[in-house]
């Protein structure tokens, strides 16, 4: 058995729960969407945990510089404001680059699911929808909904693995 066949055998299970093929199609895609979103949040939490020290350092420094720039503003010191703002921006740049890893971790299961759907259901139109609608069209709404729903769970502390 090839690795693809092993993954395929696993992912197709929810599609065969119902004997009715249309129901199985929609149920399978919904389960796949929720599973992908959950796996994405899990791996994002792992990356966030691995990056926590650097992230805390970069975000902390960006916030500290930002706060100092606000104080400079209050004291009408524009030169100090620009200097602090510039330093804050440097740390923000690093923090932005760090978030690429968390973004990749969040999205890879969804993209892999899309790849599998386009291989397994190549040329298959989605039942009851418009002619051009395929499995990928059906996949997106529950996937986005699941990502949003999962974002509402978990602690909301600034550097928790569960925060974006």
């Amino acid at each position: 058995m090839t690795p693809f066949q092993a993954v395929d055998n696993f992912l197709i299970i929810p599609f065969r729960v119902f004997s009715n093929p249309e129901a199985g199609f929609y149920f399978g895609i919904t389960v796949l969407a929720f599973f992908s979103a959950a796996l994405g949040w899990g791996s994002k939490a792992l990356v966030a945990y691995a990056n926590r020290v650097r992230r805390k350092q970069e975000d902390g420094e960006a916030t500290r510089r930002s706060e100092l720039s606000f104080q400079a503003l209050q004291m009408q010191d524009k030169e100090a404001y620009l200097a602090q703002n510039n330093l804050a921006q440097e740390h923000y740049g690093n923090s932005l680059a760090l978030s690429a890893g968390r973004g990749a971790a969040l999205l890879w299961p969804g993209i892999v699911a899309l790849a599998w759907l386009s291989i397994r259901f190549e040329g298959v139109p989605a039942p009851y929808l418009w002619a051009s609608a395929g499995p990928v069209t059906v996949f997106f709404p529950p996937y986005i909904l699941a990502l949003w729903a999962l974002s509402r769970l978990g602690p909301k502390t600034p550097h928790s693995p569960f925060t974006a």
Partner: protein, 424 residues
Amino acid sequence: MNKRSLIVSAIAALSLCLWLGIAVAQQAPATPAADAAKAAGAVAGEAAKTVDAAAADAAKAVDGAPVSKLAAAIAKAPRGTEKGMIDESKPAGFLGIPGAPTVNPILAFCWAVWVGWIFSTVGAFGGVMAGVGHMSVFGFGSYAGGLKKAAPDLGKIVTDSIKASNQFLVGTSAAISSFNYLKMGRLVLPLAISLGLGSLIGAYGAAALSAGKLDFKSYQGYFGLFVLVLGCYLLYEMTPGAQTKKKTAKEAARAFEDAVKKLKSGESVDESKLGLHINKFNLSTCEFVFYGVPFKFNPLIPFLGGICISAVAAFLGVGGGFLLVPFLTSVTQLPMYLAAGTSALAVLVSMVTSIITLMTKGTPIEWTLIGTELVGITVGSIIGPMTSKYLSDKLMKRIFIALSFYIGVGYLLAGFVGYKIPGV
């Protein structure tokens, strides 16, 4: 409607656009009406071993049935074993094109680990490396370049696909950051409107005008120019002059910090002055007060900046966030605290617009490759912080300056002069 619900609506609208865009892009193979039996067959049947959908579609194109843009380009391309021709005896490779390079998933994964490692240690240079992977390491660039004369349409589609793939990899940070700032509500609404509108127009214009028209050599040349400019900027930052300037700014910042520490004891903050208050917003002026200090900018400036930066980013297949924040903080002198959130949303708007435009114009996406690369970036981002403590920041910066010069000059020469230097 408050700011938060407006941002939620904007993101919901963007998601809907992405979904609709992909739905439209899926129109390609003209299937008859919805056929549940087909779905049942796919569910019950064996999974395809290898998918040669594009080649199968190409056969339909020969028969005269309506097919995707990729299939039409494959059908139009000359057959043969020479460079730039479709060799049907060879297995389907990238995008299902017979004879196109097939990427070893282990190589794709390892390269993506490297990209993820750079993102988590050095910074935004990871985006450049993602592009280098698609163009040079996986061999898509030389394949697309070889199609220029014999099958120009196919070459342009492959180039667009490379560009869209680059954007998928670099756009992940914008998606995450926008989500973060959405939660914090750090946004200047008038600025977000003008910048977002500019980004939308710029990204759509660049993607729509270049989709299916840009040959690989030109793309490579412009990408090389961008990397070279980036390298020059990094080099400038290492020069004594720039270092002194930075040192002076740091000293000014430290002096202010010390002054604040002295003042802090017993001093209270005027709460009424905290936060952002927009006083005036029209087509030519935006006036707001932030922490008691008045700010003023012309909304046309971020609008035009958004158009230019997003157009460049969409054209090259890069993120653009690293250009937008310095633009906002230097041109509008907006606090980084507010510029960050606004620019992240603008990058997301630009990226989604560009990808949707490319996809609706028939650009195919190799989901399997992107999925593999995202897994690699995830692993690289985990490894990065564990290994970065063993490397000096200065040394890393020097290595990446050398790399950006080598890649930039190499791509420039290959793209515009036709001279190839080893490795690029």
